[in-house]
Structure formats: C-alpha cells, structure tokens
C-alpha cells in the first residue's frame, strides 16, 4: 500500500511541488533579512560563483523534469482509447517522467551492442559471408551518427543514461540533507539551550552514533534494509546528523549568553518562542553552509557506495552504476571509454560547480571570514 502510493506519479508530483513551495517560502522569508541580503549581494559579486550557480540550476531543472511525470491512456490499434471491457475505465500505461517523454526520440534508438560516440558502424565485429569468402566486419548501425555519447553493452544510448543519472545524484545530495537537518536543528538547539539532563542525553546519543564509522554504518543499514534510493538517503541522513548537531549545539551555547536572548528571557518570553524567534534564525546560516558543502560529498559518496554494492539498487540508473559497468569495459582491447568518461564529466559538471558555489556561500555567510 505504502509502496504503491510512493511509486505513484501524483505523489511524486506532489512532493516536487511541496519541496519547491517550501524552498520558495524559506527564500522569501530570508530575503527580508538584512544579513541574508548582504550575503546575497556578496555571492552575486563573484562571477565564478554566479556561473556555477546557473550550471547547478541547469542540473536542478533536468532533475525536476525527471521527477514529475504522468501516465498516458493506452491506445487500441485503431487509435481509440483502450477501455476495460467490464468497467469501462480508461487503461493507462505505467507512465514516464517529463524527461523521458522529451528524450524518447533518443532512447528509442536502440542498437544491438556497443558503438563509439558519433560512430557509423558498430564497435563489435561480426562474421559476414561475402563474395570473397567469410569476413569479420563491423556492421552498420541502425542510427549512424546519432548517438552523441555512444551506446553500451545492450545498445542503450549513454547520453540518455547520463542525463537520467542526474536525478539520482540530485536526490541523494538534497534528500540526505533534508532528512538530517530538521532532526539536527531541533536536537542541537534544544541541547544547547536547555543544557542539563536533556543536553547530556542528546550528547550521549550523538557520541554513540558518531562512534560508528560512516561507511560501516551505511553498509550495515543497507544490508538490513536492502539497497535502494530511499534507504540510501535515510542511511546517509542518519550518518551525517551528528556533525551538524555538534555545530548547532556549540552555536546555541554561544547565543544563549547573547544580550538579545538574555533580554527576551528577562521580559518573560517563553522558551519555545525564544528558540523559534531568536535562536533558530541565527543559526540558519550554519545549516545552509553545511547543506551546500555536504551536497557534493553526498553525490560522490553515492557513486562509491553503489560501486561497493551498498548504494542504489541495480534498477536505478546512477553514475556509480555506470562507472561500475565501465570497470569490465576497460579491460577490453580496444577499450570502451565513453561510458566511464560520460559519467565522469557529468558528475564533475555537478560536483565542481556545487563545490565552488558552496565556498562562495560559506565565505559570504560566515561572519568570522567577513570581518577579516
């Protein structure tokens, strides 16, 4: 039941809309604060960071296009819409994402097996009988010169795969943080502000969790819950929660003694109101810095974990699984390099801008650096 809802398109579309709405709301709230406006202006002055931001946005758009989708009514051979003979209900296909529909002309062009980028003939030799006897020839492709990045072992277009992997990487990078942030924010702020028993208990839990090495924790988690994109996000979220918790706890400890907080306490403001109004807005910059800087490491980790067999399952396209395939392809002679290179370039195209943009955001938001 839950799986059915999770896999349905309307639920996914709803999630995307909700995510966009929340992000817009947060952005709008922050844009009214002078501190964030200053930071925005500072980031905008760096040309490199702005370019990186736009490259990043391009990836976001592709990932969004791959996240929203719809089902289409099946047609009979005569062009009429197929209906269930008993109930008369319209029969739908399994549906596809907007990106799938967009890429259909490309993904439908299937070859038999490997072919190099922009090649006219197949990469593999076949035995053919001609007038002069038996030859080993490279047969002509069905769609010569139309596979920009070549095809893989079963003749699928590599460019399509690389584009489809963007969503996997994005989901890992964003969802991991989204899962970890609310919990870390709540526990960190409460722990730092309340102190005493609550603080001790939370710190103990944090120590226990951070004692387990990250890779081993994810490995154990994936072994127990099975491989897959949602499981991986949850596992990485739990594993990365402790770092942000410590950061936020320390900052809250400092803020608790600040004069504006002390003044609120003296005026009799309730604890929850102080946390919501005064503490949380003042630690948000740390949350954003962590989120942006952690994004790229999440994308990189996904590739490694998938390669090790504890990442997304075999049914999900990802850069990790593409690189995994490439391992055997490199042992051939001549080597098949295009799948590895495509995965590498597409991944670098996401991680490098994310890193540069993340640095710019950190420099702009970190007050310690700003005063220098």
């Amino acid at each position: 039941m839950i799986k059915e809802i999770w896999n349905s398109w309307w639920f996914q579309n709803l999630l995307v809309v909700l995510l966009l709405a929340v992000l817009t709301l947060i952005g709008w709230r922050l844009s009214r604060r002078e501190y964030w406006r200053l930071a925005y202006r500072e980031v905008r002055q760096r040309r490199g960071a702005v370019i990186c931001f736009f490259v990043f946005c391009l990836y976001v758009v592709i990932a969004l296009a791959d996240s929203v989708g719809w089902r289409r009514a099946l047609k009979e051979e005569n062009g009429e819409i197929r209906r269930n003979p008993e109930t008369g209900a319209v029969v739908y296909d399994r549906g596809a994402s907007a990106l799938d529909y967009l890429l259909k002309p490309l993904s439908e062009k299937k070859e038999k097996t490997y072919s190099a980028p922009m090649a006219d003939v197949s990469f593999m030799y076949e035995t053919a009988t001609g007038e002069t006897g038996v030859h080993r020839v490279q047969p002509k492709l069905k769609y010569p010169g139309q596979h920009w990045l070549g095809t893989d072992r079963i003749g699928m277009d590599v460019f399509v795969q690389a584009l489809k992997s963007i969503r996997t990487g994005m989901v890992i990078g964003i969802l991991t943080t989204l899962l970890a942030v609310p919990f870390a924010l709540f526990s960190g702020v409460v722990s730092g502000y309340m102190g005493g028993f609550v603080d001790d208990a939370l710190q103990y839990i944090c120590t226990v969790f951070s004692s387990v090495p990250t890779v081993l924790f994810i490995a154990a988690f994936m072994l127990i819950f099975g491989t897959g994109l949602p499981q991986l996000c949850v596992a990485m979220g739990i594993a990365s929660w402790t770092g942000l918790y410590r950061l936020l706890r320390g900052e809250t400890l400092r803020l608790r003694e600040a004069e504006f907080v002390q003044a609120s306490v003296a005026m009799g403001t309730s604890t929850w109101r102080i946390l919501l109004r005064h503490i949380i807005p003042n630690v948000m910059h740390l949350v954003l810095i962590t989120a942006v800087l952690r994004f790229s490491s999440g994308v990189l980790a996904e590739a490694v974990l998938t390669y090790l067999g504890i990442g997304v399952g075999a049914d999900t396209v990802s850069w990790g699984s593409m690189i995994n395939d490439a391992r055997t392809e490199l042992t051939r002679d001549p080597i098949i390099w295009w799948k590895l290179c495509s995965a590498f370039v597409f991944m670098l195209g996401l991680v490098l801008p994310a890193n540069i943009f993340g640095d710019a955001v950190r420099d702009a938001l970190d007050p310690r650096l700003r005063t220098q």
Partner: protein, 326 residues
C-alpha cells in the same frame, strides 16, 4: 591531569555499551534471527523446522534478552544479547554465518595487509599536504594561491573511483609498471602496494591541502606572529618555529585516532586491488549477506574509533592544558 584521564576513561564505558546496543538493535531487533535464517536459506525454504535448525546451528535459538527457562545467572547469559553482542566487548567475535570460520582469527590475519596499505597512505598524505599547504598559506591572495585553490576544489570534485580506475589503467595496463591488482606477503609486497598507495595519496590531496591551509592561515593571523614579526625575526623562522609548531597541535594529536581507524582499511582500494584486508573482508561479507561478519566489523570499527578518540583527547590535554582544566 590524572583526574581528567580517569574521567575521560570512565566516559568510554557507556559509549562502548551504547554502540553495542545500537549494533544489537540494528542486527537483531530490526532484522530478527528468523529473518536471517530465511535470507540464508532462500525465500522458498519457508519450513519452520528448517529455520529452527539453522538458528540452532548458528547459536541464534536462545531468546533475545531474557531466558525464562534457564536458572540463576544463566537467565541473562543464555541470551543472544549476551552471547552474540556483549561477547564482542571481550573480543569474542563468534563465527561467520556462512562458512563457520572464526571471525576473530580472520581479523587478526587481515589487519596487517590493511595496515600495510593504509599507513603509508596516511603518512604520505600528511607530509605532502602539510608541505603544500604551507607553501600556499605563505602566498595568500596571490595568483598561485588562487590557482592552487581552484585545483584543490577540482581534485576534490573527482570521485575516488575515477582516481583508482585511471591509476590502474595508466600505470598497470598502459605502462605496465605495476601489477593491476593482487597481494603478496613478504619482500615482494611493495610491488603490489605502490599503486594503491599512490592512488590513495593523490586522491587525498585536494581536501587535505585546503583543510591544512585554513589551519595555517588561522595561526598566521594570530597576535604572536605579529609580535614575532615586530621583533624582526626572519619570515622562515616565524613559519617553521612558531606557526608550524602551533598548527601541528591539532594535526598531530589526531594521529592516534587516525592510526587506529586505519586498521579497518579502505574498502574501495582493497576491493579494487584485491588486497586481503579488513575492508575487502567487509565487502565480501556484504555481498554474501553474512550478518555475523558485518556485525563484528561495525563493532570493531566503532571500538577502534572510541579508543583512538580517547588517546587523541589525552594527547591533546597533555599539549594544551586548557582542555583538562576547563
């Protein structure tokens, strides 16, 4: 000093227990012994008798926490928690679920190859990163600094997989300088170790140089450096005698922690280069769904981390008295 060390030691006990319980909850309560038996026997063999027999053969037939049928202390000791989880605290890691071999013996056999790979990587990375970071930190704001900064980010943005694949392809396949993968005990070991060590070191440069650069920059902006300059000390003396000494405190006190966690090996490198270390052991166990081995490795990794952190904290408190007084 002694009071601090004792207090710090006492804190280790609940942490160890906490990790033990966490591992227990993950491996026995989320995923019960029945589930393990079914996974090991295959989904088709759902015969309850076979499940019971599998559990008995692997020692999972007793209750989780409390054995009502036993007498006296055995109520507590004849349980899965005591036999399989708590026993790891005194080094009894049990036997593999699949092959029945002793996990403890396997760990002792495989720790050395893991250390042979990870220790040189750690030392080389430390040395190279510190040297590069010092050079960059002294030239702050110059063009070469900016270029290095960008290069570091670029190096950081490349997946570890790519470093290994590229290294294997160029040095082993094209140039044939080293074997592609494998391992030998004895004098010829270095042949197999050169490439993994090189790859491991290079892949750590980007992030390391950036991290150490900020550490050095923090020190360079301190008051004592300004005083030293005002005194007229030569720049090289300031750098090596004052800045390096102070910046090395957080780096060197972390060494015990690093050394202990190094024992767990690097899963990725060991997998690619077929090194019979602990990281490769974990990966094989993951593939075979051997819960006992993964459980033991998770706990061992955590114990090493906890002990390493303890040693690092003690080192730090010796160097920096503010810690133990605060």
């Amino acid at each position: 000093m002694l009071a601090y060390i004792i207090r710090r030691l006492l804190y280790v006990v609940p942490t160890l227990l906490g990790v033990n319980i966490l591992v227990f909850v993950l491996f026995f309560m989320v995923n019960t012994p029945d589930d393990m038996a079914r996974q090991a026997l295959g989904e088709k063999n759902m015969d309850p008798l076979q499940v019971e027999r599998w559990k008995e053969a692997h020692g999972y037939e007793v209750p989780l926490f409390w054995n009502g049928e036993a007498k006296g202390v055995q109520c507590l000791t004849k349980t899965i928690f005591f036999r399989k989880s708590l026993a790891m605290l005194w080094g009894n890691f049990g036997h593999s679920d699949m092959t029945q071999e002793s996990i403890g013996g396997e760990i002792r056999r495989r720790a050395l190859p893991s250390l042979c790979v990870s220790t040189p990587i750690f030392l080389a990375t430390l040395l190279i990163n510190i040297i590069l970071a010092m050079i960059v930190a002294t030239k702050r704001g110059s063009v070469s600094d900016m270029v290095t900064q960008f290069l570091c980010v670029a190096l950081m943005s490349i997946s570890g997989l790519i470093y290994i694949i590229a290294g294997q392809y160029f040095f082993a396949k094209l140039l044939r300088w080293t074997p592609v993968s494998g391992f030998l005990q004895g004098m010829d070991m270095w042949k197999f170790l050169v490439l993994p060590i090189l790859v491991g070191t290079v892949s750590g440069i980007g992030g390391g140089v950036r991290l150490y650069r900020t550490l050095f920059l923090e020190e360079i902006n301190r008051d004592y450096v300004r005083t030293a300059r005002a005194k007229g000390l030569p720049e090289s003396q300031i750098l090596f005698l004052h800045v390096l000494k102070n910046a090395m405190i957080p780096i060197l006190t972390n060494v015990p922690l690093q050394l202990l966690t190094l024992m767990m090996g690097n899963m990725l490198l060991e997998n690619f280069f077929s090194i019979p270390g602990l990281g490769g052991y974990t990966i094989t166990a993951l593939g075979a769904q051997d819960f006992a081995i993964v459980r033991a490795m998770v706990f061992l990794g955590s114990v090493l981390y906890i002990i390493g952190l303890l040693l690092a904290d003690i080192c730090y408190s010796i160097v920096d008295p503010r810690i133990r007084l605060g």
